[in-house]
């Protein structure tokens, strides 16, 4: 049975694909679903400090600050898809390349490069986010933007003319997301390790030697023979990582690290209203939609990853013909 057929023969995979499809479509058509821009969320004109129940203006109710939960949900989906897919793609590329190159050259090069990978593995990602946000604050925001609390630092700036001339240079970095930066720099190691092990195994096979003997260039051997044949386990990891990274980003945002994301802000604003004297379900809209979206986002990509593992693993199918089969319990 081919991989595709094996993949689609399992009902869990259909659910996973369906969930992902819904999220992707929501992200694509966010401006149609919710014409409100993410920046101008104040839709319901009301001076109430209490979350309002669902109404035509806000289909999923409002938060205490009278912003619409529905808008946050839709725009948060767009944020999640761009962040998850974007960061995973970059991380995937870096990790795969490093792992392949180390394995291709082998020997000492491989040992040293894997040491470096192990070194990076010891760095907890939360420390990375703290550090990069710190650098973002110190290097860019405090120096270049004279915000209120930067008054202390504004003595530092000697010449406003110089400052203004270098400002455009730094402006792309000022909007850079420290979470994304930390993830890109600290999340590629599993890819490198798995790719490394995979390539080291495939390197021994005849077709690679055949390609080398027939005079193929190194780059051709790497990109045409090694990577396509070794990529399967890394693809599985990438599928799972899209969900995991978004969940982690939302968590960091919730505890105050990195830029605020719509989902995390909704949870943060609504968390005091989850429990109310009238009972836990009175203000269900402040937490239920976003919580469900977050869980489903993780579940969808997880199901896709699990489905890919089962479809690509040749061992799930093979029944070895043996007279001892009655002793094998699991076959």
């Amino acid at each position: 049975m081919g991989i595709t057929r094996k993949f689609f023969s399992c009902w869990q995979n259909w659910i996973g694909l369906f969930i992902i499809l819904v999220f992707v479509l929501t992200a694509l058509f966010a401006p149609l679903l919710s014409p409100q821009n993410a920046d101008t969320q104040d839709v319901v004109q009301s001076y109430s400090r209490v979350p309002q129940p669902p109404s035509p203006e806000a289909p999923l109710g409002t938060l205490p600050d009278q912003s619409s939960v529905f808008d946050a949900l839709i725009w948060g989906t767009r944020n999640a898809i761009t962040f998850g897919v974007g960061v995973t793609a970059i991380v995937f590329l870096i990790g795969t390349l490093i792992g392949t190159i180390a394995a291709f050259f082998g020997g000492r090069v491989n040992t040293v490069m894997m040491w470096i990978v192990d070194g990076f593995l010891a760095f907890p990602i939360i420390a990375g986010v703290v550090l990069f946000q710190q650098i973002n604050n110190n290097l860019l925001v405090n120096l270049l933007e004279s915000t209120e609390y930067a008054g202390f630092y504004s003595y530092v700036v000697k010449n406003p003319a110089i400052l203004n001339s270098i400002k455009p240079l730094f402006s792309p970095f000022m909007n850079m997301n420290p979470t994304a930066l930390a993830f890109v720099l600290l999340m590629w190691m599993p890819y490198a390790r798995i790719m490394n092990a995979s390539v080291l195994r495939i390197k021994q096979m005849e077709f690679v030697s055949a390609a080398k003997v027939s005079g193929a260039k190194k780059s051709r051997v790497i990109f045409r023979h090694l990577i396509p044949n070794a990529i399967a386990p890394v693809l599985v990891l990438a599928a799972k990582d899209v969900g995991a990274l978004v969940v982690l980003q939302t968590t960091f945002s919730y505890i105050g690290l990195g830029h605020p994301t719509p989902w995390a802000s909704t949870l943060l604003l609504g968390k005091d209203w989850i429990f109310s004297p009238k009972g836990i379900v009175t203000y269900w809209w402040v937490f239920l939609p976003v919580t469900l979206a977050l869980i489903l986002f993780g579940v969808g990509w997880n199901l896709l990853g699990d489905g890919l593992i089962n479809a690509m693993n040749p061992r799930t199918e093979n029944k070895q013909p043996s007279s001892l089969n009655f002793l094998r319990k699991n076959s």
Binding site: I126, A127, L131, Y155, T251, I255, N330
Partner: protein, 353 residues
Amino acid sequence: MTIFRRLSFSILRSVLTLILITALLYATVMLTPPETLASLYMPERTSPRMTEEMYEALLQNMIEKYHLNDPFPVQYVAWAGNLLRGNWGYSPNLQENVFTGLMRRAPATLELTFYAILLYFPLGLLSGVMAGTKKSGFADRFFRAIAFIATSLTPMILAILILVVFYITMRWFAPGRLGTAFAPMIEADGYKAYTGFLTIDGLLNKNPALSLDALRHIAMPALTLAFAQWGILGRITRTAVIEENQKEYIIAGRARGLSEQTLAWRYALGNAAGPVLTHTILSAASLMTSVFIVEIIFNYPGLSTVGVKSLAFIPDAPSAVGFSIYSTVLVLILTTLLDFLKVIFDPRLREES
């Protein structure tokens, strides 16, 4: 002997890793302009009569004094020397030396990690083996469903739910590390901090009520942490056990009439321990990350406070860097320990070299 050689090798490797990481960290810190760094060393309150020129001069003085404009290797070596001597820099947000601040909070984090590991490691192995030996049986299906929930229900969502149900509604548990009635007890004269773990110290000081109160504060964070980790570890163990069960030696053992219990617990698990430990080593850093996340959400006063406080009103580079280094060292220690454990478990690795 080979164990010691292997251990010393892995310690050497950890030290090299540490040097590499701190060098990179220091280079990242150097991205910050020296003037901004120098302003951290400035006195807290400057005289209102101080003119801008005077401030400027003082700033340049500080840059000169702390060698903030030197080339990277010079600065790095000097900084590493200071670090080894215990001078991690003064943090305005913690209002103390970074190292003292870290050491004061470390036992709380270690206690939480210890209890979480104590919970999830045996349980993960147990359920993994039980599910793996009867693949597709009832126990396996049940385990897979729960483990899927455990890995999908992120610690954040779980923590919010727990906070709402058990903390706010039921009032069974409380945030922080100790209740207000017990907090003065650990400052009192007769109290001795033997281990730094409040739950154990309470018993050692013959004050079981203190232990119980500490337990009441630590139970839910530890449980939240353990739940997700249990799911991951259990799934890995299950896969490894299934893989082992298909090997010939299990069949041979079964043909000779060994009991299923012996086969599962002694042989399959014994050989599955390798991949399981390897995975645990690789995920040590992510365990640390979850510990910090859980600490912050449950308002548990551990190491994570240093990381959070470094992002306060006036950003504070020394504590951010100190936090990063300290957590990396913790992970490296954990990794080395697990590496050692792996060698003890696996005779093949002992004989190898």
